[in-house]
């Protein structure tokens, strides 16, 4: 009796999940498998030669340009993640611990508004702010603080990092905020009552309990940044490409789909491996919740 009921429930659940699942299979899984297959073929002059080969992967791993661009993407994504999460933590902490409960929704709303305005225009405005005659440089020269415009924020990796740290701010704040909200406040009082200092209570109680949120924030920022296409294109003026720009060039401009596919698959693998290592390193924090 119990068994048939379970089966009926499983059946109902499966038939409900079928439409979105089939859609994702058709529109996501099939294309991903296609580029996986492409990545093992050879690019002919007008058509793809259907023969299994590792040559594309060999080229991805040995080509110096690919290596430079891949390293740059990893460094940019790593720095952006570090900066974004470090800057975001105190904000999430403030909203969760210092703001009165009825005001929290308003603060979160304030934090998310800039995120909902056109991504392209925001990126372009950072170019305006950081540019040679930009807001920062013209104000600083106008105030007589500097004579020559600052060049270290011009159209390079630094300006890409600033722009991306701005673009992904809400993605870092929200998961950390949610984790902080879940912390039982009496645990902190207990820590204080047992004679720990405020800093030690934070270090030994608050931070470990907030780690699931920090880990989520790191992954949510790191994964999309590594594949960002717009920022290097608009800010870097195409001079400092990241891996997404390289994939696009191979796929479309050079029309070498097997090599482009191998690049895309490699990127996904690199992202997956880094995420897995990161999760493994932090697994003790993820267990704490249970």
């Amino acid at each position: 009796m119990a068994r048939t009921r379970l089966d009926a429930e499983a059946k109902a659940g499966l038939s409900l999940i079928a439409p979105p699942f089939l859609y994702a299979l058709l529109i996501l899984a099939a294309p991903l498998l296609t580029i996986l297959a492409y990545s093992f073929l050879t690019d002919g002059y007008l058509e793809i030669i259907r023969e299994f080969t590792w040559a594309n992967y060999v080229q991805v791993f040995t080509d110096p340009i690919t290596r430079v661009v891949m390293t740059r993407s990893l460094i940019v994504a790593g720095v952006v993640t570090l900066v974004t999460v470090l800057l975001a933590f105190p904000v999430a902490y403030y909203v969760s611990f210092m703001v009165r409960p009825e005001k929290k929704a308003m603060w979160l709303f304030l934090i998310t508004i800039p995120f909902w305005t056109s991504y392209l225009i925001r990126v372009f405005l950072w170019k305006v702010i950081l540019g040679y005659n930009g807001v920062v440089n013209s104000s600083l020269t106008g105030l007589g603080i500097i004579d020559e415009p600052l060049t270290f924020i011009l159209y390079n990796v630094n300006s890409i990092v600033i722009t991306l740290a701005h673009a992904y701010a809400p993605f870092a704040i929200l998961p950390i905020f949610v984790a902080l909200e879940k912390i039982d406040r009496s645990l902190l009082e207990a820590g204080r009552d047992l004679g720990e200092s405020r800093a030690m209570t934070f270090w030994r109680v608050t931070l470990p309990l907030a780690m699931p949120g920090v880990i989520a924030a790191v992954l949510i920022v790191f994964i999309p940044t590594i594949g960002d296409y717009v920022t290097p294109e608009v800010i870097g003026g195409g001079k400092v490409p990241m891996i997404a720009n390289l994939i696009q060039v191979q796929m479309l401009a050079l029309d070498n789909r097997p090599l482009g596919s191998a690049l895309a698959v490699t990127t996904m693998l690199v992202v997956a491996v880094i995420s897995a290592i990161f999760l493994l390193m932090n697994r003790r924090f993820l267990k704490v919740r249970r």
């Binding site: 934090i111 800039p114 305006v128 482009g260 895309a264």
Partner: protein, 271 residues
């Protein structure tokens, strides 16, 4: 002591908010500035850029395309999302975690990979690129966000209400239509609004899958190369910001009303 610590954090948070709002504050400043170069000092006040924006035929076409795409994709994503949210919050079935994880995957997959793989398949099948192919792609990437919002709405439902309807002789579909649907309606509306906003602002998929059809973001991208076109883009950005804030406020209003209806707390955000 606690208060002084709070002060420091508050000052930091306000500085951080200034960083978040820095680019957005510049938008209306340059949209109403009569100079054609986007730099300080400002020239004078003008509304020319808004008039030029209004008279631009390509822009109007891009707007119509974007609206068509956003409306279609948000409806499709929300419909598919209702199935997924209902299934995952109400039923136990084998492989639930894996299937849901897979459906939510586009949230963490770099968009360029989604766009490129889809493009390769579409070109391989000889499909003509149009706003239809963009709708297909946008539905895929909006679906996880719709599900995230809808799952909150579905999981806070009181199951006994539905069972009461069954006991009183309603069919499964009848109970869903008369009891569940009205209760999750605020969630559905905010899922629609969030999907709409995401689709309206999405660039990568629209850039690669639209063929020759412009959408708002791809039109903006094409204009960023021409310094003379920038002031009009600033005016357009100003209008879009106001529109987004109105839509967001509406979404938040419906979400809170829904929470109040099922007795939830008013805290928590769109995520």
């Amino acid at each position: 002591m606690n208060r002084s610590r709070g002060r420091g954090l508050q000052a930091y948070t306000i500085l951080y908010l200034m960083f978040l709002y820095a680019p957005i504050v510049l938008l209306p400043i340059f949209a109403f500035n009569s100079g054609t170069i986007i730099a300080f000092p400002l020239q004078g006040f003008t509304t020319d850029w808004f008039q030029q924006m209004w008279g631009n035929a390509t822009l109007r076409r891009a707007l119509i395309n974007s609206l068509t795409i956003a409306v279609s994709a948000s409806i499709l994503a929300t419909c598919l999302g209702v199935f997924a949210a209902r299934a995952s919050t109400r039923f136990e079935f084998p492989g639930r975690g894996g299937i849901m994880g897979f459906i939510m995957l586009p949230m963490v997959l770099p968009e360029i990979i989604v766009a490129m793989s889809l493009l390769v398949v579409l070109l391989g099948m000889g499909v003509q690129l149009s706003i239809l192919t963009v709708i297909v792609g946008h539905t895929l990437i909006c679906m996880p966000y719709a599900i995230a919002v809808l799952s909150t709405a579905f999981s806070s439902l009181d199951r006994s209400l539905e069972e009461a309807a069954y006991d009183l002789g309603e069919s499964r579909w009848g109970a869903f239509r008369l009891i569940t649907l009205p209760l999750v309606m605020p969630g559905i509306i905010s899922a629609l609004l969030i999907s709409f906003t995401i689709s309206l602002d999405e660039f990568i998929i629209a850039f690669f899958l639209a063929g020759n059809e412009p959408t708002l973001p791809t039109y903006i991208f094409s204009q960023l190369r021409f310094p003379r076109a920038i002031p009009v883009i600033m005016a357009l950005g100003t209008v879009l910001v106001i529109l987004s804030i109105v839509l967001l406020a509406l979404g938040e209003y419906f979400r809170r009303r829904g929470n109040a209806r099922i007795g939830g707390s008013p805290t928590g955000g769109l995520m």
